[in-house]
């Protein structure tokens, strides 16, 4: 077990701090974007939802999300002056098991990023209400998380379909980004993480009850994840045959 944990620690060490730093930075940028929108709309009709809709917070979040995807894809790739794959392929732990730990690590990184986005949104809401609409605090936030597409997609509350979609995205992104460096070591360039990240950026923020798009995104995420897992399994089989 110690061997397995040491492989997991390799991935954790090379990703989690960077992912956390990226999440913190995204929080700061989103706060600035939100503050700018609030300042721009000062004097107009006040409203948390209005400010959120006018701010570029979802865009900022999408950009940092893309950066995180790139970070997870390229960490562990055989590039930038070293090919750790040569060592990983000489371990007694199979590449499939190594990939399992990489998937876990990538998924946790996305989870950390999601948590940071949610925390940022909640803090921004509370901060705004504390200064602009002190009387409406709790309920306004609750309603905003139902009516603002970005906020609703971050925390779908009782929208089970959206929650399932988010879980599928988490799993799909975790698998595709973790498998990317592994396949790259075998000379394959897979586009799954790029495709999935692009789809997520475009279609993440949806209004409540968009069942069609939720279903489509869920299927895309699961299909991409399955495709990456299949290529991993196939590679392992090829290796055994060789």
């Amino acid at each position: 077990m110690k061997r397995h944990l040491s492989v997991l620690m390799l991935f954790v060490r090379s990703t989690i701090y960077k992912a956390a730093a990226l999440a913190l930075l995204s929080g700061a940028v989103e706060a600035a974007l939100f503050a700018f929108a609030a300042w721009r709309l000062r004097g107009g009709p006040p409203g948390l939802e209005t400010v959120f809709a006018a701010s570029f917070v979802p865009l900022g979040s999408a950009l940092f999300f893309l950066l995180l995807c790139a970070l997870l894809c390229f960490t562990g790739c055989d590039a930038l002056g070293s090919r750790p794959g040569y060592t990983l392929r000489r371990l007694r732990i199979s590449e499939r098991q190594t990939a399992g730990w990489a998937i876990l690590c990538s998924t946790v990184c996305f989870l950390v990023f999601w948590a940071a986005q949610l925390l940022t949104a909640l803090l921004l809401c509370r901060f705004y209400l504390a200064s602009a609409e002190p009387a409406l605090r709790g309920q306004t936030i609750f309603l905003a998380f139902y009516r603002v597409p970005y906020l609703h997609s971050l925390l779908p509350l009782r929208d089970t379909g959206r929650a399932v979609r988010n879980l599928a995205l988490l799993a799909g992104l975790g698998v595709t980004t973790a498998c990317f460096p592994l396949r790259q070591r075998h000379g394959e360039q897979r586009l799954e993480p790029l495709l999935l990240a692009a789809v997520v950026c475009v279609a993440f923020a949806q209004p409540m009850a968009s069942f069609g798009s939720d279903l489509l995104l869920t299927l895309i995420a699961l299909a991409q994840g399955a495709c990456a897992l299949f290529s991993l399994w196939k590679g392992d089989m090829d290796e055994k045959r060789a």
Partner: protein, 244 residues
């Protein structure tokens, strides 16, 4: 014994290795020579199972698999360490994954080359990275140590030191396959020279035999490569401006 029988590898239409037969016996220090693109790196990667190939490669009669690959170590100028880990973490990692990891040797070599233990490998200079790469290969506890241009980027003194250290620390059962262009430097250090050309072995000679015949390694390489000494002078005379 590490045995290669009729090993072939091609990249598309280009034949990188063409029915290579080679045996590496325990305790040998084998120099692997050849021009760029001769197939030296490909040969090593085939031995390690990094590349699909035809033919058979066996380690004491058994194919190289995950079960016995720990008996092979690899030092490459491309580097195989984890750039975000410090040297100390590598030691821990190797100790866990390679049961015969040579702890004492690691300590001594780290001290000898005065390498920092807590600095991430990516912050090492190229020379230090090369040194650490070779240290890892030597300390893994492998029976067969494959080195592919491990000293590219190191200065001459550094390399000299390394050859001496290597000769001093290797145990009788440890085999080294060293690929390099630095013929003169390794001439006195290796026990056998293998020459590759266009994916084929064109020469395989124990250094003892070479010494007895009064030839240098360079002479042997030139013979095997059918090197024409007048090649340069003829080319220059062809290029010289014509007299009017």
């Amino acid at each position: 014994m590490l045995k290669l029988e009729s090993v072939s590898k091609s990249y598309g239409r280009r034949q990188a290795l063409d029915r290579v037969d080679l045996e590496l016996r325990p305790g040998e220090l084998v120099g692997l020579f050849g021009e760029n693109g001769a197939g030296k790196t490909t040969l090593m990667k085939c031995i390690l199972g990094y590349l699909d190939h035809r033919g058979s490669i066996t380690l004491d009669g058994a194919p190289v698999t995950r079960k016995n690959i720990g008996r092979l170590s690899f030092a490459t100028s491309e580097h195989s360490f984890f750039p975000t880990l410090p040297a100390e973490a590598h030691r821990e990692f190797y100790r866990l994954h390679f049961p015969h990891f040579r702890e004492k040797r690691f300590e001594r070599l780290m001290d000898f080359f005065e390498l920092p233990r807590s600095r991430e490998l990516r912050r090492f200079s190229t020379g230090q990275q090369n040194q650490f790469e070779v240290i890892l290969a030597l300390c893994q506890g492998a029976d067969y140590i494959l080195m592919d241009e491990p000293f590219a980027g190191n200065d001459i003194f550094n390399r000299e030191d390394f050859y001496k250290v290597l000769l001093g620390i290797l145990e009788p059962g440890e085999t080294v396959l060293l690929s390099t262009h630095l013929l003169e430097e390794v001439e006195n250090f290796i026990s056998r020279a293998v020459l590759l050309r266009s994916g084929k072995i064109v020469g395989d000679m124990p250094m003892m035999e070479l010494e007895e015949s009064g030839r240098s390694l360079m002479d042997f390489v030139k013979e095997a490569y059918q090197y024409r000494p007048d090649r340069v002078s003829r080319a220059l005379s062809d290029l010289a401006p014509e007299e009017e």
